[in-house]
C-alpha cells in the first residue's frame, strides 16, 4: 500500500530525511502522509506482530508514533513535515 495523491499536488516540495535517506514531501503534508508517500509503513510494533502505518488519522489510536530529531516522539498524523526534518521510524 502507498498513499495516492489525488488532489492538491501543486504545493511546494519539502525535503526531509526518512531513516537517514533523502525523501520528498509537499508543504502541508502531515508526517503520516509524508512517510506513506515514500514508504509502506511508519513504525514496527514492539510486540512482534509486524509493521504499522497508523490507523485513525486523527490523533486517537496512537499507532503512528515516530521519532523526529530534536523533538523526540511525535504522532505522525498530528505533526506537519518541515524542511530538513530528520524522521526515524521506530
Amino acid at each position: 500500500m502507498r498513499l495516492v495523491r489525488l488532489a492538491e499536488t501543486a504545493r511546494p516540495a519539502v525535503a526531509f530525511t526518512l531513516d537517514g535517506a533523502p525523501a520528498t514531501a509537499l508543504a502541508g503534508d502531515t508526517l503520516l502522509t509524508a512517510i506513506l508517500a515514500n514508504a509502506e509503513h511508519v513504525r514496527t510494533s514492539e510486540f512482534g506482530d509486524g509493521n504499522r502505518a497508523g490507523f485513525c488519522w486523527m490523533g486517537a489510536c496512537q499507532d503512528c508514533w515516530v521519532l523526529v530529531q530534536g523533538e523526540g516522539r511525535v504522532r505522525a498524523c498530528s505533526t506537519y513535515v518541515a524542511q530538513g526534518m530528520a524522521v526515524l521510524r521506530p
Partner: protein
C-alpha cells in the same frame, strides 16, 4: 472566572457564539491547529480545493460555520493546537508545544466529538487498513487516497459517504461491503424519511456508486483482511459462500463512538445506552450534568451528527448563560429545544437502521488481535475474563495501552460479555485516566 469551551467543531463553535452574544469572552480550546472539528475540518494553508469539493452537500453549512468562527476570533480567547489532558475541579490542564498551562474555569462546556467504532478482524493491523473517518481525513485534509484500490467495510452513513467521496475524487473503489443487510435498512426507512435530506443524500450515494459500477454487497460477514506485511485482499462471506476481492487498502468502521474521557475525568455519571450500545455521560436536555460547572454537547455525549451538534452547542451555552444569572433569549431556547426533539426521532431511526453488529465482535476468533496497542488477542481476554472490565484490564492490559481503549473498548466489552454469558452492560466500562492522550512524562508529573 471564565467559561471554557473544549472543542471548536460544530458544537463548540455554536456554544462560543451564544456565549459571546451574552457578553462573555470564553476560552475556546482545541487540539487541532484550527477550528471546524471533524466534519468541517479545515485543510492546511496552501490547499486550494473548493468548499464544494471538500464538504459536498454540506458546503454551505461548513461555510456558515467557518465564517461565524472567523467573526468570533476577536471576541474569544482561542487556544488552538492545545490538548486538554485532565480535568480537575474548576481547572483544565492543558498542553501546547510541550508547555503546560492550567486554565481555571467556572463553567466548562465539553464538545469533544467522536471517533470511529471498529470491530477487530484478522489482518486489521496491517499497513493499509484505516478507519473510515481516517480514510476521509486523508482525502479531505491531505488530498490523498489510502491506496490504489480501496475496499470499504462496515456499516452506517459514513461507509457510503466516504466511498462516494473517494470515487468522486477519482480513487478506485474496489468494493463497498455493508454488514447490515438490505432488509434491515429498508424496514427502518419510515423513520429515516423524517431526516429529509440526510437520508436522501445517503440513497443518492448508493445509487451513484451502483451506477458507476462499484461492487456493492450488503449483509456480509467479514472473514479477514489478507496480506503478508501489506494488504492484498479482503475475504468475506455471504449467503452464497465465501468471496474474495483484491485491494491494497481497506477503510473500516461501524458507526461512531463519543470521546467521553474528559467528562469521565470530571466525574460526570454515565449510563448504558441500549440503542448505541455503550456507556454515555448523563446530561439533561439542556446539557447540564450532575457535576456543577460541567456541561456537555455534540457527538462527544451521544452520536447525533453535525446538525444536532450545532443545535446542542447553542442550547448548552444558554444553560451556562442562565446559570451565570445573565438574561436568556427564551424564544431562541424554545426553538432549539423543538429542533433537537425533531432530530432525536431521526437519529433513533438511523441507529436502528445500522445496528452495531455486536455478535460479530463477540464472536471474533481467539487469535484475532483485539488490542492493537499491545497486540493482545481476543483469546487472551477470554482466558482472563472476570466480571468487570477494569479487573480484566488489569489482568490482560486490554484498555491500558496507549490509546486507553479508545479503539478496542466497545469490541472488548462484547468479547468479555459473551465469555461471561452476561449482557454487555453488566461488564461495566473502561475508566478514563489522565493524561487522556500520551504526553511527556515531566508534564504529567508537574501537573
Amino acid at each position: 472566572m471564565t467559561v471554557a469551551v473544549v472543542g471548536a467543531g460544530p458544537a463548540g463553535t455554536r456554544a462560543a457564539e451564544v456565549l459571546v452574544q451574552a457578553g462573555l469572552r470564553p476560552v475556546v480550546i482545541d487540539e487541532a491547529p484550527d477550528n471546524g472539528g471533524r466534519i468541517y475540518q479545515r485543510p492546511p494553508a496552501g490547499f486550494r480545493r473548493s468548499d464544494g469539493d471538500l464538504y459536498g452537500t454540506e458546503a454551505h453549512k461548513a461555510q456558515a460555520l467557518h465564517r461565524r468562527f472567523d467573526q468570533l476570533r476577536g471576541a474569544i480567547d482561542l487556544r488552538a493546537s492545545t490538548l486538554v489532558w485532565d480535568v480537575r475541579p474548576q481547572q483544565l490542564l492543558t498542553l501546547r508545544d510541550g508547555r503546560s498551562e492550567t486554565i481555571g474555569f467556572e463553567q466548562a462546556i465539553l464538545c469533544t466529538g467522536a471517533m470511529d467504532r471498529v470491530i477487530p478482524l484478522p489482518g486489521w493491523t496491517l499497513p493499509g487498513v484505516y478507519t473510515l473517518g481516517g480514510a476521509q481525513v486523508a482525502l479531505k485534509t491531505q488530498g490523498c487516497a489510502i491506496g490504489q484500490a480501496v475496499a470499504f467495510l462496515g456499516t452506517g452513513p459514513l461507509l457510503w459517504l466516504v466511498a462516494y467521496q473517494y470515487a468522486k475524487a477519482g480513487a478506485r473503489v474496489a468494493a463497498v461491503l455493508d454488514t447490515t443487510d438490505f432488509a434491515t435498512k429498508a424496514w427502518r426507512t419510515g423513520g429515516l424519511l423524517r431526516g429529509g435530506r440526510t437520508f436522501l443524500n445517503g440513497l443518492r450515494y448508493v445509487g451513484w456508486l451502483r451506477w458507476r459500477g462499484v461492487r456493492i454487497v450488503e449483509g456480509v460477514v467479514p472473514e479477514a483482511i489478507e496480506g503478508d506485511g501489506e494488504v492484498t485482499g479482503l475475504r468475506y462471506r455471504t449467503r452464497h459462500g465465501t468471496h474474495h476481492i483484491a485491494c491494497d487498502a481497506v477503510g473500516i468502521g461501524w458507526g461512531l463512538k463519543p470521546e467521553t474521557q474528559l467528562a469521565d475525568l470530571a466525574g460526570v455519571s454515565f449510563a448504558f445506552d441500549p440503542v448505541q450500545r455503550g456507556w454515555l455521560p448523563v446530561r439533561n436536555e439542556a446539557g447540564r450534568t450532575d457535576i456543577r460547572g460541567i456541561y456537555l454537547a455534540g457527538d462527544g455525549v451521544r452520536i447525533g451528527g453535525a446538525d444536532v451538534a450545532e443545535l446542542a452547542g447553542a442550547r448548552v451555552a444558554w444553560a451556562v448563560v442562565e446559570d451565570r444569572g445573565l438574561p436568556v433569549d427564551h424564544a431562541a431556547v424554545a426553538r432549539l429545544d423543538r429542533a433537537l426533539q425533531r432530530q432525536a426521532k431521526f437519529r433513533q431511526a438511523l441507529d436502528r437502521a445500522f445496528p452495531y453488529p455486536h455478535r460479530l465482535a463477540a464472536g471474533m476468533a481467539d487469535d484475532t488481535i483485539l488490542c492493537r496497542c499491545e497486540a493482545i488477542t481476543a483469546g487472551a481476554m477470554r482466558a482472563a475474563a472476570t466480571a468487570e472490565v477494569n479487573r480484566t484490564k488489569a489482568l490482560t492490559r486490554i484498555g491500558m495501552g496507549r490509546c486507553q481503549g479508545r479503539v478496542c473498548g466497545p469490541a472488548a466489552a462484547e468479547v468479555l460479555a459473551a465469555a461471561l454469558g452476561c449482557p454487555v452492560e453488566q461488564v461495566g466500562r473502561l475508566r478514563g485516566q489522565p493524561p487522556v492522550k500520551p504526553i511527556p512524562m515531566r508534564t504529567a508529573a508537574a501537573g
